[in-house]
């Protein structure tokens, strides 16, 4: 991108990621266009508008200097915690569970913001932790508290998917921070013991049902297993080249539930076939593996390394769980596919992550520039 007549702010944007990302969003828009029966309303337009809006936000975030990130990490985390408690309180008073706050001009879902928020606060914590303490309890107890509180609050909303996403981002940061490996090995062992216990005692009935049905979707063909079965039918009947744009019967005849949100990938796969699926995987490979993890490896300091890797993992978690779910490899949890599924909050979260990685990218380039 050494084209000198393009103004510097534009020239310095990470085009190698923005171009594939834009293509993916546009591809998602055609899927939504088709899901709406060949109309831009109500989803496709909004999808593109959301992207443009939050791309602006991401670019703005990318210009925030590193010390500001470190500065706002704890206050931002604190505000989110307050909001999470507030959501819970409003929900209790209003009767019934609630995940968002109505701010008048928009609805805010604090648990969504907590996904990048937890990564930020974890990165700051480990960056400021003296390296000598990394093997002591002081490297584990505060993060466990920092993670445990919001995760618990989100679980009781109840929103298992988001809680898992928050945990995943945080755990990846903890893992990369260099804490002793045996913590993870013993943690994994504990999880395999606790998982069945959690299944029987902690999960809600509907959540338990989802797990059972995931293990054997055909057991409940017309009930909750319906979702997984119909999704697999949509993907499977698409074949390699798909049925063609607008010809997806599973989505248009309403056999596929949530065809424009959680199951957008199935809607896509029916009409575009495996080609479309490979395209999506390829874009995520570029954005997450090549660029996201690459930025993290090249990052100048510990904080930015952890930050970029955590943000990448947060997006990755969405992608992995959603695609595993639509292909019958994971239970049905309400997690959309980034940049393809319709939905403002997920677009916002993911673009915040992208913006943060872009910021890290800038910091390392600047430092490289200064060194050069």
């Amino acid at each position: 991108m050494n084209v000198s007549y393009i103004p510097a702010p534009l020239r310095n944007l990470p085009w190698q990621v923005l171009v594939p990302l834009t293509l993916l969003v546009l591809f998602g828009a055609t899927v939504l266009w088709s899901a709406a029966g060949g109309h831009f309303a109500p989803w496709a337009w909004k999808h593109i508008m959301n992207f443009v809006l939050f791309l602006g936000l991401a670019i703005a975030v990318s210009h925030v200097p590193e010390h500001r990130f470190r500065q706002v990490a704890y206050p931002f985390y604190g505000i989110l915690m307050v909001l999470l408690v507030l959501v819970e309180a409003v929900g209790r008073i209003g009767g019934g569970s609630q995940r968002w706050l109505n701010l008048g001009f928009m609805t805010l879902q604090p648990s969504e913001l907590m996904k990048p928020g937890i990564v930020l606060v974890m990165s700051v914590f480990y960056a400021t932790l003296p390296p000598t303490l990394i093997r002591s309890w002081r490297a584990l107890l505060p993060p466990v508290l920092l993670l445990g509180l919001p995760a618990a609050l989100v679980i009781i909303q109840p929103d298992l998917g988001t809680a898992l996403a928050i945990c995943f981002g945080a755990v990846v940061v903890i893992f990369l921070s260099g804490v002793p490996m045996w913590w993870f090995i013993s943690g994994g062992a504990a999880a395999t013991i606790l998982a069945p216990l959690a299944y029987f005692f902690a999960l809600h009935d509907y959540q338990r049902k989802r797990v059972t049905i995931f293990l054997d979707p055909e057991s409940d063909m017309l009930g909750a297993g319906y979702h997984i079965t119909q999704s697999k039918i949509a993907i499977g009947s698409g074949g390699f080249f798909g049925k063609g744009l607008g010809n997806g019967t599973q989505s248009h005849l309403e056999y596929l539930p949530e065809a424009h949100t959680d199951f957008a990938f199935a809607t896509m796969a029916e009409e575009w076939g495996m080609i479309g699926g490979l395209f999506i995987l390829f874009v995520f490979f570029i954005v997450l593996f090549r660029w996201g993890m690459g930025v993290s490896r090249r990052a100048p300091d510990r904080f930015s390394q952890l930050l970029a890797a955590g943000m990448t993992s947060t997006i990755f978690f969405y992608v992995a769980i959603n695609m595993m779910m639509v292909m019958g490899l994971a239970p049905v949890v309400g997690i959309p596919l980034p940049f393809v599924s319709h939905g403002g909050s997920s677009m916002m979260t993911n673009m915040l992550c992208i913006g943060t990685i872009m910021a890290v990218d800038r910091w390392s380039k600047r430092r490289v520039g200064r060194m050069a």
Binding site: P131, K232, S237, Q250, L253, M274, S296, R302, A309, M327
Partner: protein, 686 residues
């Protein structure tokens, strides 16, 4: 590892671990790609099929049922275009809400709703239940619009069975209805659970179901997950069932049914040239039109409350003492045995047999009676006297030849045999020797003799033709060569002339005289006692205890063409049966005259059978509303009701005495005084 960790070591650790994370990530990516390939490529065919079976809904179009035609091609049973709404119990989500919504849209009454609930309770799985039929376009459209919100409700346009004359043909053709679980077990065809499809449940509809059914059409349509049809893909038309043609004369059938009026009775008319059954009427009858969707509680109550037994096919399953209608047959057996028809006996009102006196119905006596007078005056003493001489074996043989006690090759599942008593039969049945009074009772059609109206009509047709006529119902069946009865013409002439004399001359049957110039009717009346004279005189009193009235006849006398048998249960005797037979025979020669006779009568009865049933239904609806008891299994109950001929065919007690003859009416004379109290008639009823 050193005790102190430096930031450089953490950097190294980060590098290593980020490679692990990256590898896991791309590994998962590969796994997803593989998984997708497995679903979309390896299992593509399987999922394509599943997607197609999601998308395309194949529904059967019930075939139009073959028509049932009369001899002139006029429909006895046809189909009419119909908008209908069915319920599929398995698919109903909220039964009460759905029914409430339907009730609002279709303006169903509480009684309708109750019947629908009853049917739903009995139906299983995907067996469709009719909610409403014969809807107007508006109502049909209203339901169709709401269908997406009413799962399990199937509005449909199709054809439904229609019997133009309703109850007049009920016992002839039977009825159709939705297949039940039992039918489905027998025949595992998806057609049986297709809404709107009906199978023959009784009578000809059941017997010829295979021919009438036809081949279903099919419709492939693209449907949404909620069952809404997006568009039709292709439609294969149904192939209507084949029509079947009967020998029945639809006009005569209707006339005869209506002429029976308020009575409980039966009428069979046979063409004496070839045995064609022209009318086959048992009344009162259910209306097969209202049976196609199962019997409602009120209808069932109406039918089962009726002591005239509308569910009983009185032609095939009723059995009655023959009364004097047996006399022409007995006379033929006398002639064959060589009795000179001029031999006479003096009737003074009774005959001593053994130590008992058997009375003639005419207690004043008939004076000098020869064979002809014995028939036209129906003198019992004449037959008492000569029957003892000729013997029961010969009489019974002639009776069987004339059709008594026989069944015929007709497409009805079971026909009652009745009884032609003879010594061998009695020995076998009761382990008792034949007694002389048994002969005496049998010769006047009392005692053990039991007959159904079909047998009587066949007997009349055989007397009229001299041939061994077999009744036919299916017009397209080949006519078997008709054999002669082998009765000398002179014998037949004598008996026929006596039967003509009975109606047109000095006999007791003046009431049956035809109002047609130049056409004489020949007949024989019969009155069958139901209870002994010690209980009632058979003419008045409780309906159930009144005598049955028979009349068998043929016309024209000179060259017989039509034979007819009329039975009126508990009508008080043959006097009631004669005008009915007369009008029905009149119809065959002059329809206008026949209608002129019937219509004023019908006005007095409250209209046609359909109109009377509608009136009765209204009364019942007002009286009982939704409080009528439920019907367990109407179909089974109907079979029971039809087959309980046991009332009449119950094992009779051994008769040890004379059954007294029922009085014969003398239409042209002042009715004779009431019979004197019986002397030796401690006899058993029948």
């Amino acid at each position: 590892m050193p005790k102190t960790v430096t930031s450089g070591m953490l950097r190294n650790s980060f590098d290593r671990r980020s490679v692990v994370v990256g590898t896991l990530q791309s590994g998962l990516g590969l796994l997803l790609a593989t998984r997708m390939g497995y679903i979309a490529l390896a299992d593509n065919q399987k999922y394509k099929m599943m997607s197609e079976s999601n998308r395309v809904n194949l529904s059967l179009i019930p075939p139009r049922r073959g028509w049932i035609l009369d001899r002139n091609g006029q429909p006895v049973a046809s189909n009419r275009a119909d908008f209908r709404v069915d319920l599929i119990p398995e698919r109903l989500v909220e039964k009460d809400k759905t029914l409430a919504e339907l009730a609002k849209v279709l303006q169903l009454t509480d009684i309708d709703l109750q019947d629908i609930r009853d049917r739903l309770e009995k139906a299983r799985g995907f067996q469709p239940v009719e909610a409403a039929a014969q809807l107007g376009w508006e109502e049909f459209a209203a339901v169709s619009v709401r269908q997406p919100d009413l799962p399990g409700v199937v509005p449909q346009r199709g054809f439904s069975r229609y019997y133009p004359t309703g109850p007049c043909v009920g016992h002839l053709v039977g009825y159709v209805g939705s297949a039940n679980a039992k039918d489905y077990e027998k025949e595992h065809s998806p057609l049986l659970i297709t809404p709107g499809f009906k199978i023959g449940k009784d009578g000809l509809e059941k017997r010829f179901d295979g021919e009438l059914r036809g081949v279903p059409g099919a419709r492939r349509a693209e449907v949404t997950a909620s069952g809404r049809i997006v568009r039709d893909l292709e439609t294969r038309e149904d192939i209507p069932g084949k029509p079947i043609k009967l020998t029945i004369h639809a006009g005569l059938q209707e006339y005869a049914a209506r002429r029976i009026g308020l009575e409980s009775g039966a009428c069979v008319v046979i063409d004496t040239h070839n045995g064609d059954i022209l009318a086959f009427v048992s009344m009162p009858s259910f209306d097969p039109n209202s049976f196609t969707d199962g019997v409602g509680r009120l209808e069932w109550k109406m039918l089962s409350d009726d002591d005239h037994l509308p569910l009983r096919n009185k032609i095939l399953h009723g059995l009655y003492p023959a009364g004097s209608t047996v006399k022409p047959t007995v006379a033929l057996s006398f002639l064959e045995a060589g009795l000179d028809p001029n031999e006479w006996v003096n009737c003074n009102g009774g005959l001593q047999v053994g130590n008992r006196v058997f009375h003639c119905w005419q207690h004043h006596g008939h004076g000098r009676v020869d064979m002809a007078k014995g028939i036209y005056q129906s003198c019992d003493v004449y037959f008492y006297h000569f029957a003892q001489k000729i013997g029961m074996e010969r009489i019974a043989a002639m009776m069987k030849r004339m059709g008594w006690g026989q069944t015929f090759p007709l497409p009805f599942a079971n026909q009652s045999f009745g009884t032609v008593p003879d010594p061998a039969w009695k020995l076998k049945r009761y382990k008792k020797e034949w007694a002389i009074y048994d002969t005496v009772n049998a010769t006047i059609g009392q005692g053990y003799t039991l007959v159904n109206p079909l047998q009587q009509a066949v007997m009349a047709s055989r007397v009229a033709s001299g041939k061994l006529l077999m009744p036919r119902l299916m017009a397209d069946d080949p006519i078997a060569p008709i054999q002669s009865l082998g009765i000398p013409q002179a014998h037949l002439d004598l008996v026929r002339a006596a039967m003509a004399e009975m109606v047109n001359g000095r006999g007791t049957g003046g009431a049956a005289r035809l109002p047609i110039p130049g056409v004489q009717l020949a007949g024989k009346s019969g009155t069958a006692q139901v209870v002994g004279l010690n209980i009632g005189n058979g003419k008045a009193g409780a309906w159930k205890k009144r005598d049955h009235g028979h009349f068998v006849c043929f016309a024209p006398f000179g060259s017989p063409r039509y034979a007819c048998a009329v039975l009126l249960e508990h009508s008080g005797g043959s006097k009631a049966a004669m005008p009915v037979a007369r009008d029905i025979m009149t119809y065959l020669f002059d329809q206008q005259k026949a209608w002129d006779a019937l219509l004023p009568l019908e006005a007095g009865w409250g209209g046609t059978p359909q109109q009377r049933q509608a009136t009765k239904y209204k009364t019942y609806a007002a009286q009982y509303g939704v409080r009528a008891p439920s019907v367990d299994d109407s179909e089974a109950a109907m079979q029971r009701a039809d087959s309980d001929e046991t009332i009449h065919a119950a094992p009779q007690p051994v008769q040890s005495a004379a059954a007294s003859p029922a009085p014969e009416p003398q239409a042209d004379e002042v009715p004779t005084s009431a019979p004197a109290s019986p002397t030796a008639t401690a006899g058993h009823p029948l």
